[in-house]
């Protein structure tokens, strides 16, 4: 084993992964006064943070795990201050809008299923939960461009959206302005626990630090076991279409269609197991487009300018994994598939916990131990 390029004296924490999760953590750690080195693999990485939809979303989350709904609601509530802070620090407007969002339903049985889920979640939560079922007339009153096939929608006033790319840029600029160090193009090859911390060997050299935080998305699967942790995450592909820029007509984000701050209609609603193939297929794109046109018929005449596929980072139950290593103290694994929604929690509450603060109550539900003994592929 070669020696490290630094000694343990000049880096407190190495964050592995320069996506939205890793950058939120690195930014938060830097703000807390840590000396941070952020390792980012490069543009040949899967980069879920560059392909995602950009929802700041509450409704529908936490079914069977109300702690996740609470964690999500706390993060949504923290978003406005987080966006303000990023704008003040970097000048970047992340285009946050939280004026309520909808999940459009095209069939009565879809409405019934979502209503049943809502009843169950509200019962489990035992706290105020402002989600409502709306009929078609109510939806059309809010958004007159809604098509006749929409029979109703789930409405949640806490829901919103932001620009994921602007968020990444703001986090990176914020991190940089605080003096954070970034090693771009450094793929982590091995992590070795050592006395006093960890040696992280990368294509860019070996670095040493007392703490290492794994936020490498799908890469966590192979990195976590090297520091006594597990992260049984798997890729789940989503495909997205974007239109030409259009004058604003859709102020409220919906689960599958939203209009960005610059006027683009972004459309996507697929979930596929396609392994590590992050391409697109005509069959899925046509299905996504057809459903979107039923929700908003005027989309039919808009030009699609780009499509892409991206891989969600999914745990077996879809919930985050936040865990500290007991075998190798100082190592943490952090992964989730809602890196936009949860960015304020990651930069705030999670950082406090990593730095030795009290564990936030919901975290007990998000340990990877819950998967011990279950077969994962």
């Amino acid at each position: 084993m070669s020696g490290a390029a630094n000694d343990f004296g000049d880096i407190d924490t190495i964050v592995v992964g320069g996506g939205v999760v890793g950058l939120s953590l690195a930014y938060g750690l830097k703000k807390a006064g840590e000396r941070v080195l952020l390792l980012d693999e490069g543009d040949d990485a899967y980069r879920a943070a560059r392909g995602n939809f950009g929802l700041v979303w509450v409704q529908g989350k936490g079914l069977g795990c109300p702690a996740y709904a609470r964690w999500t609601m706390q993060s949504a509530a923290a978003w406005p201050a987080f966006a303000d802070e990023l704008r003040e620090r970097t000048g970047v407007d992340v285009e946050l809008s939280q004026i309520g969002g909808l999940t459009m339903c095209l069939h009565d049985d879809e409405m019934a299923e979502r209503a049943a889920q809502l009843t169950r979640l509200r019962h489990d939560l035992a706290q105020a939960y402002p989600v409502e079922m709306w009929d078609g007339a109510a939806v059309r009153k809010l958004i007159p461009q809604t098509g006749p096939d929409v029979v109703g929608a789930v409405w949640c006033p806490l829901d919103g959206h932001a620009s994921p790319l602007r968020l990444l840029r703001a986090l990176l600029q914020g991190y940089d302005s605080l003096g954070g160090r970034l090693a771009a193009g450094s793929r982590v090859e091995a992590i070795t626990p050592r006395a006093g911390g960890f040696h992280v060997r990368t294509t860019f050299g070996t670095f040493a630090a007392p703490k290492v935080v794994l936020a490498a998305g799908l890469g966590n699967r192979t990195l976590a076991p090297q520091v006594g942790l597990t992260a049984p995450v798997a890729p789940n592909r989503g495909q997205i279409l974007v239109t030409e820029r259009v004058q604003p007509f859709l102020r409220h984000p919906t689960l599958y269609v939203r209009q960005t701050g610059e006027g683009v209609l972004q459309i996507g609603d697929s979930k596929e197991d396609a392994g590590f193939d992050d391409g697109t297929t005509l069959a899925q794109l046509s299905r996504i487009a057809a459903r979107a046109v039923r929700c908003f018929p005027l989309l039919e005449r808009m030009n699609i300018v780009r499509t892409w596929g991206a891989l969600r980072v999914m745990s077996p139950d879809g919930l985050p994994i936040y865990q500290a290593s007991t075998r190798h103290p100082g190592a943490f694994v952090i992964t989730c598939h809602s890196g936009i929604t949860l960015a304020p929690q990651h930069a705030g509450a999670l950082v406090d916990w990593i730095l030795g603060g009290t564990e936030p109550q919901p975290l007990q539900h998000f340990k990877a131990e819950r998967f011990d003994g279950m077969a994962t592929h």
């Binding site: 030409e244 820029r245 259009v246 004058q247 007509f249 610059e262 006027g263 005027l298 005449r301 030009n303």
Partner: protein, 101 residues
């Protein structure tokens, strides 16, 4: 005028267009972009984000800088659209309308 036709066109078939409410004479075989440039239209559109002026750059369907509204249809590539008698052309200021054929 920034642009002028190379030949005199004395035998060309005239085609009448309306550009921003103004009658314009083009020739059969012109593209909308060529016809507009020939009568001195310098700015075809303003961009949706910054409002910067744009005019045709490539004239071959690649750059999308010549987008105009043709017969009520927004974001049409003027350089790829042949002129037709009575065609109504409007310039776009910012993003296209959500409606429109």
């Amino acid at each position: 005028m920034a642009w002028q036709r190379i030949e005199d066109g004395s035998d060309a078939v005239p085609v009448r267009l309306v550009v921003e409410g103004r009658p314009v004479q083009a020739r059969a075989g012109d593209t909308v972009a060529a016809a507009m440039l020939a009568v001195g239209v310098a700015v075809f559109r303003e961009t949706p984000v910054s409002g910067a002026p744009r005019a045709p750059l490539c004239m071959m369907g690649v750059c999308f800088d010549c987008l105009v509204e043709v017969d009520g249809r927004p974001n049409v590539q003027a350089c790829m659209t042949p002129v037709a008698e009575g065609m109504q052309i409007c310039l776009q200021h910012g993003a296209r309308r959500p409606e429109g054929a």
